[in-house]
């Protein structure tokens, strides 16, 4: 991933293997914590403050997210690294704004998904986790959702890699599926750590399910299954609009886009330099958004 050095002998092999190990450990920590929480849930959720579950959720998810950051961050090229702060600012500004309105959405992942589409699943996962860590400087309550954010970045990158952003109508579908998975994983955090949700509008939806007699975890999971897929479908659509509006010169910075033909219209064979003619983005499916870039002058 990192830029090849022409002068120094490569010493990357053992380091690369160690990073791969860290990545796997991080993913395992997140998965194991989730399975543990779901298997052992009902015992102490209403009996007491439930802080044993809260502590396990916090420790497991945070450790997993930090392992992922440590594993992925050193491998990113500089062009991706400088985009991460931009993505974090977009996440924070939009998330902070939407979180305070009466809409049961979050929209706090636009930057993460954008990086994932431009630079791949590993970069997306690291951005998601970093976003939660840095945002917690202003809002400590987002810290426990680091694992969920990393998962969103990873899934968005995988969707881009397997061509779901080549057709404009597939992007919201991919977002919807990502939202289902992310919502199910984030629900135990909301339930065990906070005993509810952070927003007024999402809280109202949880209340409705509680009124029907659901357990807290079930109610929050159902709320997440209502909010998250819609939210992520919107986010993926916005990101698709933004990425298709990028001029060619900006897209050239990202080898991931070329290597896996993430966007429609970049039809050069794999591995060649993409400085071919201007017959770029003229494909029917994306033309609605591709023509946007002419309006921004």
């Amino acid at each position: 991933m990192s830029s090849p050095s022409l002068t120094l002998p490569s010493q990357e092999r053992p380091a690369a293997r160690r990073r791969r190990l860290l990545e796997i450990l991080g993913a395992l920590a997140i998965a194991a914590t989730y399975v543990y929480l779901v298997l052992n849930q009902p015992a102490d959720i209403t009996g007491g403050p439930g802080s044993a579950s809260a502590l396990i959720a916090l420790t497991g998810f945070l450790a997993g997210a930090i392992l992922l950051i440590v594993a992925v961050l050193p491998t990113l090229p500089a062009s991706t690294l400088v985009l991460i702060p931009v993505a974090l600012v977009l996440n924070i500004v939009l998330g902070q704004f939407v979180g305070s309105t009466l809409v049961p959405f979050y929209l706090d992942a636009i930057g993460t998904v954008m990086i994932a589409v431009l630079a791949g699943p590993a970069a997306g996962a690291a951005t998601g986790a970093l976003s939660s860590v840095v945002w917690s400087f202003f809002n400590p309550t987002v810290l426990p959702f680091a694992a969920g954010a990393a998962l969103i970045g990873c899934l968005a990158g995988l969707a881009a890699r397997y061509g779901l952003f080549r057709r404009f109508y597939l992007a919201p579908v991919a977002g919807f599926v990502t939202g289902i998975i992310a919502g199910v994983v984030s629900a135990p955090v909301a339930a065990f750590v906070f005993g509810g949700t952070s927003g007024v509008a999402t809280g109202a939806i949880v209340s409705a399910f509680r009124a029907m007699g659901d357990t807290l975890l079930a109610a929050i999971t159902k709320q997440a299954l209502i909010s998250d897929p819609m939210d992520k479908a919107i986010v993926f659509t916005i990101v698709a609009v933004l990425v298709y509006a990028l001029p060619r010169r900006a897209r050239q910075q990202f080898p991931f886009l070329r290597r896996h033909r993430v966007l429609a219209g970049n039809s050069q064979p794999i591995g060649t330099r993409a400085d071919a003619p201007v017959k770029d983005k003229a494909h029917g499916t994306a033309s609605g958004s591709a023509s946007d870039s002419t309006l921004n002058g």
Partner: protein
């Protein structure tokens, strides 16, 4: 539970000479111990101590609005959720149709709110009183990736700059005749007209910055020299170790304790 978090938190007058990592350890240990203990008294004590420290340190003007922005929606959400709908509650105080106000529900909500307030205040007190350049230097000196430090520092400095640029783009589009009407479609259109140029210019900038950083050897391996000296002492190192052990002990005690 074990160490008193209020006692471990630093005196504001000597804040400049304290290592940022000591502050971080104090805030993190406070958060962990409060969560693990889960008692009304300790949570309230931590809230009071944090308020007192931020007032004494002169950061209350920034900590309190930030904390309120987080805690008020959260508190309202929890109160509505558990105050009105708590099917497990037995002691009914009032009842309207499906909504039942129960003592257990209010107790649960109150406990969560106070606990959360303690954690949020402790961490916000840290992030608003620490000097970010010092924190970055201390992290780099401890072998934490220069890259993480770059992301942290860059985000915190970009935040106001990007907000400013978004404002200028809105003004420019308004000068071109952008009028936001009430209909949803017009709002979406207006959002697009502002978001697309903003993101394009940000990515363009990032590309320039990447080239500059690459030319200065960001990706090269090897040790880095820092010009910034961060004060540290044996005492502070000991305090940090003790705080971390105390937090760990609190977690272990809570998890293995019977009835937890």
């Amino acid at each position: 539970m074990t160490a008193s978090p209020a006692g471990a938190a630093p005196a504001p007058a000597r804040r400049e000479r304290l290592n940022p990592l000591t502050l971080l350890a104090a805030a993190a240990a406070t958060a962990v111990i409060t969560t693990a203990a889960g008692s009304w008294a300790l949570s309230l004590a931590v809230v009071a101590a944090c308020l007192g420290l931020s007032a004494a340190g002169g950061t209350a003007g920034r900590v309190l609005p930030a904390a309120a922005a987080v805690l008020i929606p959260f508190g309202l959400s929890l109160l509505v959720l558990h105050g009105l709908f708590f099917p497990e509650g037995r002691t009914v105080l009032a009842e309207w149709g499906p909504a039942r106000v129960t003592a257990e529900g209010l107790d649960f909500a109150g406990q969560r709110i106070v606990q959360l307030a303690a954690v949020v205040l402790a961490l916000l007190l840290f992030s608003f009183s620490v000097s970010i350049p010092d924190l970055v230097a201390a992290l780099s000196a401890r072998g934490v990736q220069g890259r993480f430090a770059f992301v942290l520092a860059s985000t915190l400095t970009l935040l106001p700059a990007i907000a400013d640029r978004a404002r200028r783009i809105r003004q420019a589009q308004e000068a071109r005749g952008l009028v936001v009407s009430r209909s949803l479609l017009a709002r979406i259109g207006a959002f697009r007209l502002q978001a697309v140029p903003l993101v394009l210019s940000l990515i363009e900038d990032a590309g320039t910055r990447a080239a500059a950083l690459e030319a200065r050897g960001l990706s090269n391996p090897g040790p880095r020299t820092s010009y910034r000296e961060v004060a540290d002492s044996r005492l502070q190192r000991t305090v940090r170790t003790v705080l971390m052990l105390a937090a760990l002990a609190a977690v272990v005690l809570r998890v293995v304790a019977p009835g937890a």
